[in-house]
Symmetry: C2
Subunit: 200 residues, 2 copies
């Protein structure tokens, strides 16, 4: 089956837009989604940025909220910015990785983004992650414990380095099996089409 | 007639994509395009950037070329990056403003973008601008002379300040008559639809 890698940071507002539709859009095209959580922080830092560009450049930040609100409205999707932006997404990303082998990374990803961008919950808070895990029927205590093992910590670090190696500089990014990159929620349809027709 | 302002910098590669399709797309929807050339340089400078973000952040710059190539291919549009990027667009923007009252700003805009992003001409060169003007049937000597009058120089400076006031931080940007902003070639359809249905 054809595959498309979905690279996202749980703090990324545009990644929320893609997370809520990628599974259905890819399935319609016969493409399997491979979830690749990573951290934008180290990548931004290497560009000299200490926080999100939406905070560093206020006009861009104001526009982003307006833009996502319009897109979300058109899709019938709720959208509310969390009080602290960008959220510290380290722990959520580790938990997601812990769910990869057990098969719940996809529903966990959607549930985290929903908690953050519709219910304005702080995803850095372990109790929030625990309630998200319970909501999708996963043993929260076991998952949170596994998320802090060296295997998972190193795995996330390696995944973030791999993102950099692929030339990824923002999120969401879609990576086809031939290395072709697509950046931004507005490139998702193009990326799926590439996965079907070009990336044989 | 409904209007949509098209804010662009002649050095902007994504503005090229919009310049080549905005007239037809807007006309189909019964919307008049108002051409608003401005300079991104002072806006980037206020963000602490000394050149285009595509040069400051190489991964982003490499992606931009690939992304525009894909989009241009899909539209049957040629695309080649000029040797010097970003071009010095000061003089082209002044000439464009000089053509506003005479009614040739639209064809001039398209012809400059074509010279730059298909024929790889240096639009900072007055002889290139002269040949563009001749191509669209405008008296080149008179237009280039008018472009250096205080009225036009001050006009471009004021227009760039107005861009900032509107919250514009990049190009292309589309501004509806109610102040709603849309950034990026991929938001052109949304902007036209807003001009028709919302910005009464």
């Amino acid at each position: 089956m054809r595959k498309l890698e979905f690279w996202y940071d749980f703090a990324s507002s545009y990644s929320y837009l893609s997370a809520m539709r990628i599974e259905a859009a890819a399935a319609d095209a016969g493409v399997a989604v491979v979830y690749r959580p990573f951290l934008l922080g180290p990548i931004f830092k290497s560009q000299g940025w200490t926080t999100s560009p939406f905070n560093l450049f206020p006009a861009k930040g104001q526009y982003m909220v307006r833009d996502i609100t319009r897109v979300a409205n058109a899709r019938g999707l709720p959208f509310r910015m969390p009080e602290a932006f960008p959220a510290n997404s380290l722990h959520a990303a580790r938990v997601a990785l812990a769910g990869e082998s057990s098969g719940w990374i996809a529903p966990f990803t959607r549930a985290v983004f929903e908690a953050e961008f519709t219910a304005q919950r702080d995803i850095a808070d372990p109790t929030v992650l625990a309630s998200v895990l319970e909501r999708i029927g996963v043993d929260a205590q076991a998952a949170l414990a596994r998320a802090t093992t060296p295997e998972i910590k190193d795995g996330l670090r390696a995944q973030t380095e791999t993102a950099s190696t692929h030339g990824i500089f923002g999120a969401p990014t879609f990576l086809a099996s031939d290395g072709e990159l697509f950046w931004g929620d507005d490139r998702l349809d193009q990326a799926i089409s590439w996965a079907v027709h070009k990336a044989r």
